[in-house]
């Protein structure tokens, strides 16, 4: 890590001419709770509205106010929206971290900073733009109490001027952000932005390399976070019972869902809700309610993060063993234990795949994008009812809480698949049913829903030994029969989980495998490897566990396959080891990053280059 010492730096000798047009990272360093969120979002949206692909990542501490926070906007004409480690343009608003932030920059970067911080003295190889925020804010915001907030909008104006962001777009973004009801606030902020713009115009000569130029790559696109995308997916999946317990970074998934459900899922005629959302007393209760509801025929769900999953272990085993559907979102954060609650990781794979004592295995979906957060949510609810089992949807803090550009979501074409449910009419016809009988050979029995108006509809669900007729048993053959059915069901799932995504290049001898939020970095790394090293690389992204046969095929088709893991123990690779032939295992190489930031392409590229060199 960087040192805080002022080290003698090379004088500014970079080629200021090699402009970074629509291809840079801008970071705003502030303090959380200081209200910079709005200013940052407006900045990002303004660039987005100019047709330039962007992403916004918020790195915030596990506390509520007063500690350092960094918001990073990446603009990329290539559409790379994953993290980029290097910062080209810094807005240094936080006195506490300003020196370290500046010292970390690579030569040639630009720094907008609050004048009193005197950062310009620190290095000679950067472009500095000091701004007297306090002086500027006073005239545009007469109410001293509001100044702390409005102050932030000034840097929007400054940055807009320096980067060439059109002020009309800043205005549009601002109006959108504040909404109609807060028109006065919008106006106040607009004044501040203009003040910043004007100041920059008069005070600075642009000499850094970052610029934006209008493009046409964002038309029709949306900006959203993964938690909202999952919430929308769940709503359009027709979820009816949601039980949850707050935990970062999953809380906003349900909170956003609550907002949407209140708007769109209250029956306009009767005024009655078509859903129930319950903040439970803990995760043991939330998963219990979700399972109770799933058992009773509801599309049910819960959302949590690592510690919550650990608490759910016992109940999940019941869900597995008694064939009860529900959907569990895990918005992963850095573990173990409380870990780093506001940092991202893919660390719950191995413990979740086999969550709960005894022989258990669970399907996990791995959406990688906003579009998939939406569409795979819908698939997950179908899948849970199709297979009558708890289904996990794994995202992480990076996907869940950061701002991502996406195509508008596609309305589900297929009707809901409610799985094998027998109605009273079916029972009349059949005269009865064996709850855990494998009539169709797919390991999935037919169920009835409590409330079905038929005496034959009833069966007894239990987590203790049961036979095909759902009767209590301790018999060896019954037990084995049922466990074999469950194992077989898992194999059936293998054929019905979403297929992996693939990107193949001519002549590739090596491959990359990654899941979920690693996708952005992995794909960018493929480009880097080809562009910078002339190495074509194939890419496969499993979208679910159990893995489909494509994975093994892919590996067999390559000399070496680099498995990207955002965790210490290479958990994706470990899971693959459990399923692959030894010959394929021998081809696997591990690329791991587990520092809590979203993984970036350079880390993958460097690691692969290093290992390839061996």
């Amino acid at each position: 890590m960087s040192s805080l010492e002022v080290t003698p730096a090379e004088p500014l000798s970079v080629d200021a001419g090699r402009a970074l047009v629509n291809d840079f990272s801008l970071q705003v360093a502030t303090v959380n709770g200081s209200g910079s969120q709005t200013a940052n979002t407006v900045l990002m949206r303004a660039i987005f509205q100019m047709g330039i692909p962007v992403s916004g990542k918020n790195m915030f501490p596990s506390n509520i106010a007063g500690l350092p926070t960094w918001f990073t906007i990446r603009a990329s004409k290539h559409g790379y929206v994953g993290r980029r480690k290097e910062i080209d343009f810094l807005v240094a608003m936080n006195a506490e971290t300003a020196r370290e932030d500046v010292m970390k920059l690579e030569a040639g970067a630009a720094v907008v900073y609050d004048e009193p911080l005197k950062l310009g003295e620190l290095r000679t190889d950067l472009h500095f733009y000091p701004v007297p925020f306090d002086k500027l804010v006073a005239p545009v915001c007469p109410d001293a109490k509001l100044r702390k907030l409005v102050r932030n909008m000034i840097y929007d104006g400054v940055v807009a001027q320096l980067l060439g962001i059109e002020m009309e777009e800043v205005h549009r973004a601002l109006v959108k952000q504040f909404g109609k009801r807060k028109a006065k606030a919008a106006e106040l902020n607009w004044g501040a932005a203009q003040a910043g713009f004007d100041y920059a115009t008069s005070a600075f000569t642009k000499n850094d390399r970052c610029r934006v130029e209008r493009m046409n790559l964002t038309a029709g696109k949306i900006i959203v976070d993964g938690n909202a995308a999952c919430a929308l997916g769940a709503m359009f999946a027709g979820v009816t019972v949601v039980a949850w317990y707050p935990i970062t970074p999953s809380s906003t998934l349900v909170e956003t869902l609550i907002g949407y459900m209140r708007r769109f899922r209250v029956d306009p005629e009767t005024g009655k809700a078509t859903y129930a959302i319950v903040q439970a007393e803990d995760e043991l209760a939330s998963i219990g309610m979700a399972l109770g509801a799933g058992w009773a025929g509801a599309r049910s769900m819960t959302a949590t993060s690592g510690p919550g999953l650990s608490l759910m272990a016992e109940f999940i085993g019941l869900g597995y063993y008694a064939d009860v559907p529900t959907v569990i979102y895990d918005v992963q954060r850095v573990g173990p234990s409380t870990g780093l609650p506001t940092r991202t990781q893919q660390g719950d794979l191995l413990s979740t795949a086999f969550l709960s004592h005894g022989d258990t295995k669970h399907p996990i979906f791995f959406p990688c994008s906003m579009e998939e957060c939406f569409s795979m949510s819908i698939q997950a609810f179908d899948f849970a009812e199709r297979f009558q089992t708890p289904v996990f949807v794994f995202t992480d803090l990076d996907l869940g809480m950061n701002n991502w550009m996406a195509d508008a979501f596609v309305y589900p074409e297929k009707p809901m698949n409610r799985g094998k449910v027998l109605t009273a009419e079916d029972l009349d016809r059949l005269g009865g049913f064996a709850r855990y009988g494998d009539v169709d050979g797919d390991g999935v029995g037919y169920r009835t829903l409590p409330g079905t108006n038929h005496p034959k509809a009833v069966y007894f669900t239990r987590g203790s030994g049961h036979n095909a007729n759902a009767q209590y048993t301790e018999r060896e053959d019954d037990y084995i029969g049922n466990m074999d059915r469950l194992a077989h069901k898992f194999e059936t799932m293998r054929g019905e989980v979403p297929e992996p995504a693939r990107e193949l290049r001519a002549g590739a001898r090596i491959g990359i495998v990654a899941i979920g939020s690693s996708d952005y970095a992995a794909r960018e790394s493929c480009d880097q490897l080809e562009a910078e090293h002339g190495v074509p690389v194939d890419y496969l992204r499993p979208r679910a566990f159990p893995f489909t046969t494509h994975l093994a095929e892919f590996i067999r088709g390559h000399d070496r396959v680099y498995v990207v893991d955002q965790n210490r123990d290479g958990q994706l690779l470990q899971l693959m080891r459990l399923e692959l032939e030894p010959d394929s295992i021998a081809r696997l190489r591990s690329v791991r990053y587990y520092g809590g930031m979203p993984i970036d392409a350079r880390t993958i590229t460097d690691e692969i280059v290093k290992q390839e060199a061996k």
Binding site: A273, M289, A296, G297, R299, F315, G451, P455, T461, R462
Partner: protein
């Protein structure tokens, strides 16, 4: 869905044409003489006598001898026997999904007062519309006789060990924190338990029924305070109860002050006649005081401790429709294309 014809009545049948067999479960595997078995019998009788369609009942339980008992009554009801202490969560979820179910939960004292105390209390707080029977024997039957958290101070284990921690009183907890029908009974008191169970069936809200239910194998010895012998000595009935179903007339008018008629949700009535104690079952504080007083006298107060028919249930608070949300058609749970477009526009 059509109601299929009930099987031809072989012998005596109830209002809806079912015989008592239709309310039985599989053969009990509990010890002969276990209090839990008597409770199962009362459940069978009550549902039979009231003519409830068993397949509209959903039974929930945790783990323990007690929690096994739902297998031994109402074999024609749905059932979910979950994990130890977590009956409340399962039941809550299921009732959210389908508010038309008649929920019946069974918990052991280990379930309710030890591992599941938190869930129990939060269910109480929510006033989930559920009949919650605690089959209370003061021990862990299924794991062979360890003290539970309802074991009385000073009561002894079979091996002689003395319990030195005070008990949780599930009735006190229930009525203090939100349950709307709270009663205690004794598995050996057929009449009282029947009246209480029937009232619970008619009540809309959470009914907590703590039934002292002796464990003949591990807690029926001298020194136990949950034994048959002890209960015979120390059971103090608070009131005399009459349950009058909706389809019967309340024959005898009662004189003011003598008894109290509680009209229940479904038109039935509970008639409470005071016995000795001057006690108002609509006052939470009075009930708490009565429990406390009885405790100091080493009496076990049974009867109806609290009833409140006016409080909204958890389902009311959630503004649920009358029909089960679990099975609403796609058209009512998947918003339209226009809605998606509206949201997309906001995000653009």
């Amino acid at each position: 869905m059509s109601t299929p014809a009930a099987p031809p009545p072989p012998r005596k049948t109830n209002r809806i044409g079912l015989d008592v067999l239709s309310y039985k479960g599989s053969k009990t595997t509990l010890c002969a003489g276990c209090g839990h078995n008597s409770i199962s019998e009362r459940v069978i009788e009550c549902f039979y006598e009231l003519g409830v369609e068993p397949w509209h009942v959903a039974k929930f339980s945790g783990i323990g001898c007690s929690s096994k008992s739902p297998a031994y009554f109402l074999g024609m009801a749905h059932a979910f026997n979950g994990v130890h202490g977590r009956m409340p969560a399962l039941a809550t979820g299921a009732l959210l999904a389908n508010s038309t179910l008649l929920g019946l939960g069974v918990a052991g004292d280990g379930d309710a007062a030890s591992i599941g105390l938190g869930q129990f209390m939060h269910m109480v707080r929510r006033n989930v519309p559920l009949i919650c029977i605690i089959e209370d024997n003061g021990v862990y039957g299924l794991t062979k006789g360890q003290f539970s958290a309802t074991a009385d101070l000073g009561s002894t284990q079979k091996g002689g060990a003395v319990n030195d921690l005070p008990p949780f009183d599930c009735c006190a907890l229930a009525l203090e924190w939100g349950a709307t029908f709270v009663a205690r009974s004794f598995s050996g008191d057929k009449k009282q338990l029947q009246a209480i169970l029937k009232t619970a069936i008619s009540h809309r809200g959470l009914s907590v029924i703590d039934v002292v239910s002796p464990c003949v194998t591990f807690n029926d010895h001298v020194g136990s305070t949950k034994s048959y012998a002890y209960m015979k000595e120390h059971d103090l009935a608070l009131n005399e109860l009459d349950y009058v179903p909706a389809y019967e007339d309340i024959a005898v008018e009662i004189a003011e002050g003598e008894a109290m008629d509680v009209p229940l949700h479904d038109g039935s009535h509970l008639r409470i006649r005071k016995l000795g104690h001057d006690f108002d079952p609509t006052s939470r504080l009075a009930a708490l005081a009565a429990i406390e007083e009885a405790e100091t006298k080493a009496e076990v107060l049974t009867g109806v401790l609290y009833v409140n028919t006016g409080k909204p249930t958890f389902l009311d608070l959630l503004n649920l429709p009358p029909e089960p949300i679990a099975t609403l058609p796609e058209s009512r749970v998947r918003p339209s294309r226009a809605v998606l477009e509206e949201v997309m526009e906001e995000l653009r």
